[in-house]
Amino acid sequence: MKLHHKLATGLGALAVTALTAMPAWAQEAAEAAAPTPDKGDTAWMMVSTVLVLAMILPGLALFYGGLVRTKNMLSVMTQIGAAAALAMVVWVVWGYTMAFGPDASDGLKPYISSFGKLFLAGINADSTAATFTDGVVIPEYVFVCFQMTFAAITVALVLGSVVERIKFSAVMVFALIWLTIVYFPVAHMVWAAGGLFFEMGALDFAGGTVVHINAGVSALVACIILGKRIGYMKEVMAPHSMTLTFVGTGLLWVGWFGFNAGSALEANGSAGLAMINTFVATAAAGLSWLIVEKLFGHKPSALGFCSGIIAGLVAVTPAAGNSGPFGAIVLGAVASLICYIAVAKIKPMLGYDDSLDAFGIHGVGGIVGAIGTGIVYAPSLGGPGGADFSIGAQLVTQVLAVAATIVWAAAGTAIAIFIAKLVTGLRVSPEAEVEGLDIAEHGERAYNL
């Protein structure tokens, strides 16, 4: 329900399509004069956009970088930075129009927009993008940038499962194809009017399906095809710097306010609701992971705390503006428990090498969040749903959207990885892997002490 893609030119020549946030959106109200963006909304959205950028660089780069071994630190940071940068350039060339461009033909409309805004054709400083409120708009360039950062962080998140062994060239080829055949269509399906899940009425405030389930499932498929790291489960692969991981966690949490509260597209009460939920769900999840560790007989760990923070942030993403604060607390706490079991119990049992738990936390946490959103939305639980809201019916919709995202992401990732393998060979030589990707792939080392 995040937004719709009908965009006015701002010149008054085209009618603005006014939509409500709910499925019964399809009324069109032509307005005589095009609305002018509010300066407060615009300022908030510009700040939100750069907050999401800070989640990637340096947030995610430090979070992921600290978790790998010293010899691979720079490769992780460079992969994240370069994949995100590629996503930004691709976004303005063909990504934006695929996700939020003009309507495609009826058959294609649920999956993709048309290419009418290739190279941002027709957009200028006067163009506006609609928000959830009738007659309230923001500059389209700001909207393009805000959505751009989402594409950039999602592709960077996927890399968490394949680090320490994938070639840099493979990352770039994979990112290009994956964005095109997985991210842009899924973003369209969830957030654009006419999109498949949008039409179904699936609730996804800030990208639980588009970003987290999508990235998590893609990460799982990618790491299974790529194979395990040499020495996995035999050698010590402890994080080389929990300090940097902790710093990255903090930056992610701060940046996430742009991600979640910014997804309201306005500086209003809905953004405020997303903000408080991004505080309390995350706090509950951080504490919950520590308690779960204790219950399983371990010490409450720093990595556990950081993992809980991320799990909570992921789970509250679809629920940010779709839950009351206490629903969010429960959602965060439950997400930590389930993610803990996924990464500490199920992953070792199945033996796949999702190196930094991109699936275990983003995929699993995203699924918990997406399904949980169908529950916490209920007004009886303090959520913002209407009096006629039915948990059962909404859950069916949520599960369908989750399942469809999983299938799409898995199939698209398999294709993208196989093409990357064909073009680049996918994986570094065993010699390079043992030496470390920093020297082998980038000719540098992270620390010259």
Binding site: V236, A238, P239, S301, L303, G304, S307, Y340, V343, D357
Partner: protein, 112 residues
């Protein structure tokens, strides 16, 4: 002259230093080291992945001393570094052939 090498628990360093200062020892060299003896290693757990480390962090203290002070140095370290638990460490005493103070060129006992 003797060189006393002691491997001790890191948190005992201050007590050892104070004990040796009390004897009039003028200097020492301290290094962070890793190793193992009868004490078992530690277990680290990251998101459920357990790694046991065979090497335990210790502090190595090196003190050069005159022959007649060496016995008391060993005794002071043994008493100040002792916790009674496994992993307290070891002390080794070696003969030293020569000592030179770089600034003055003084040698042997005077140089210590």
């Amino acid at each position: 002259m003797k060189l006393v090498i002691a491997i001790i628990k890191p948190f005992k360093l201050d007590e050892v230093r104070e004990a040796l200062s009390g004897l009039g020892v003028q200097g020492m060299t301290v290094t962070e080291v890793k190793g193992f003896g009868r004490q078992k290693g530690q277990t680290e757990i990251y998101r459920g992945a357990e790694y046991s480390t065979n090497m335990v962090p210790k502090i190595k203290v090196e003190v050069a001393t005159t022959d007649d002070l060496a016995g008391r140095v060993v005794e002071a370290i043994q008493q100040s570094a002792n916790t009674g638990a496994i992993g307290d460490g070891k002390i080794f005493v070696l003969d030293v052939a020569q000592a030179v103070r770089i600034r003055t060129g003084e040698t042997d006992d005077v140089a210590l």
